[in-house]
Amino acid sequence: MIPDLGRYAVAVLSSYGATIVLVAAVVALTLWQGRRVKRQLQEVEARQGKAKTNG
């Protein structure tokens, strides 16, 4: 399935691996921060009886 990368296999696979890890990290961080802040805001708005933020 994986193409024959010859003697450069380590360089190519490491590049793809590092990219996937870094992109996954920034996506995960973005989603985690987004959910955490949204939940905290909803709690405070519910406590104060404020209208919800759109979206």
Binding site: R7, S15, Y16, T19, G55
Partner: protein, 243 residues
């Protein structure tokens, strides 16, 4: 309808909530298509062998590392001139994404450079300018964290962004300015000229570039929404403390 309507946080939240699912869908489709095409279905280059497949990661992320800084510069200038909070928050939101792309470009560049140039790193004008840009990203993020007052933080980071723009420009044009070093000039805009990139690599590369552009847009929209919510959260908590 004026573009400045989107500077209203409420309007921005409404519009971005509608746009975001479409952008995320297009991001996944274009990135998966481009990377699978590039990795599995492109031939080895006659000189570079299979390392040519790194182009589908290195070029789009390097382009976006620079373009992200340009976007932050535009947003910072809008903040400085018109004082729209959403633009300052969008610049803040873009920085970690830009830093990630910069790190990917540096890592993939080193992994590509070692077998092709015989070295992981050289103090070449383009590489050095790019490394300094990465340090500016770190400084920019640190400055936002270091200043308590959000408006003061936005002012200071906007100035830092303008200074860092010198290195964003140098990252792109250093090869043309100095005409030396290991890093080659861009070839993707040379279609029809001497030594263009072959169409077998060009088409999947364009798909990958589109994918990384959309990934940037999706992440910045998500992060800006979070920043707007965080700003509202801190305002509500401040009200609570005063009451």
């Amino acid at each position: 309808m004026s573009v400045w309507e989107y500077a209203n946080p409420k309007r921005f939240m409404q519009v971005s909530a509608r746009v975001l699912p479409v952008v995320v869908g297009l991001t996944v489709v274009s990135l998966v298509t481009g990377l699978i095409w590039g990795f599995f279905f492109t031939p080895d280059d006659f000189r570079q062998g299979s390392t040519v497949k790194i182009i589908f990661l290195h070029v789009p992320t390097a382009m976006m590392a620079i373009n992200a800084w340009v976007m932050m510069l535009v947003a910072s200038l809008i903040w400085l001139i018109r004082r729209h909070h959403v633009s300052a928050l969008a610049a803040k939101a873009a920085a970690p994404v830009g830093l990630t792309f910069t790190l990917i470009a540096l890592v993939t560049g080193a992994l590509w450079g070692q077998p092709m140039w015989g070295t992981w790193w050289a103090w070449d004008p383009r590489l050095t300018a790019f490394l300094i840009l990465a340090l500016f990203y770190l400084g920019y993020i640190a400055l936002w964290q270091a200043v308590d007052d959000p408006d003061t933080a936005a002012d200071l980071t906007a100035v830092l962004c303008m200074v860092g723009s010198v290195f964003a420009v140098l990252s792109r044009y250093a090869v043309k300015f100095w005409n030396q070093g290991l890093h080659q000039d861009s070839t993707i805009l040379k279609v029809g000229e001497k030594d263009p990139i072959d169409v077998a690599y060009y088409v999947p590369l364009v798909v990958c570039i589109l994918g990384f552009v959309l990934l940037f847009v999706a992440l910045v929209l998500m992060r800006t929404r979070t920043e707007i919510r965080a700003r509202r959260l801190s305002a509500l908590l401040a009200q609570e403390r005063l009451a």
